[in-house]
Symmetry: C2
Subunit: 119 residues, 2 copies
DNA sequence: TGAACATATGAACATCTATTCATGTGTTCT
DNA sequence: AGAACACATGAATAGATGTTCATATGTTCA
């Protein structure tokens, strides 16, 4: 049986009105990209745990590593990711660096996700 | 210069009280895992766009592919991911399969993320 | 000043992930 | 029944990602 298919879907769109309307209302490409990047940061168990730990109080790298039973290096790498996403901020006190949540958005996003998971 | 370092951080934890308190209040491992998995699903541009498109109305695979200018196969694969995360549901009408958002959580999570990105 | 320490970081490696390609499934027509 | 179509899916591949390892940086304290 020799089929002859088009490489992709034949139709440009079945429901053209719905497509054009959705296209109009869709946020800018860049916004959606940034949004995906943000959620990507939340999309890792280690980072979620770090954020969760910081809900309680600020913590130093060593504390977090101990809490999660992971190496200091791994935690430090992840804190870097969290910081560049502006989800945490840090404060230096001598040798020790304390990390804390950057703002309330973090908890809101976290809680919305939790609501879905624990429905 | 020959340094002699411990393989990991010396201290079990500098601030033991903070660590034990955080450990107590931390949700179960499994919940945090599921939460990270959920955010991971949001953490991709294609999937974010699909969800965003569905805010407007339900759409068939072909429509979404056309809207995002991607192949039907790529969209189908991603819809599968979204469905197993229970973010979308589908409905079959003849040959055509319509996808829609599963519930309101999706938009809430999306909006919280958007608030952070567009602060 | 030098040792000990808390943290940061670059490179390497293994694992995961998104898209493509080819093809399978199930439906609607004629 | 067979052709055309909308969609699903498995395998393969390229690129992204998380941890480890080794080491660098900057601070404190004796």
């Amino acid at each position: 049986m020799e089929h002859k298919y088009a490489e992709t879907c034949q139709c440009d769109s079945i429901h053209e009105d719905a497509v054009t309307k959705a296209k109009d209302l869709m946020p800018e490409e860049e916004i959606l990209y940034d949004l995906a990047e943000l959620f990507k940061v939340f999309g890792d168990t280690t980072r979620v745990k770090i954020l969760c730990a910081l809900f309680e109080s600020e913590m130093c790298v060593c504390d977090i590593a101990s809490l999660l039973n992971m190496t200091q290096s791994a935690i430090s790498h992840q804190l870097r990711v969290l910081k560049s996403a502006k989800l945490v901020r840090n404060r230096k006190e001598g040798k020790v660096v304390f990390y804390a949540l950057a703002d309330d958005h973090v908890k809101h996003i976290f809680d919305q996700g939790l609501a879905h998971v624990t429905e």
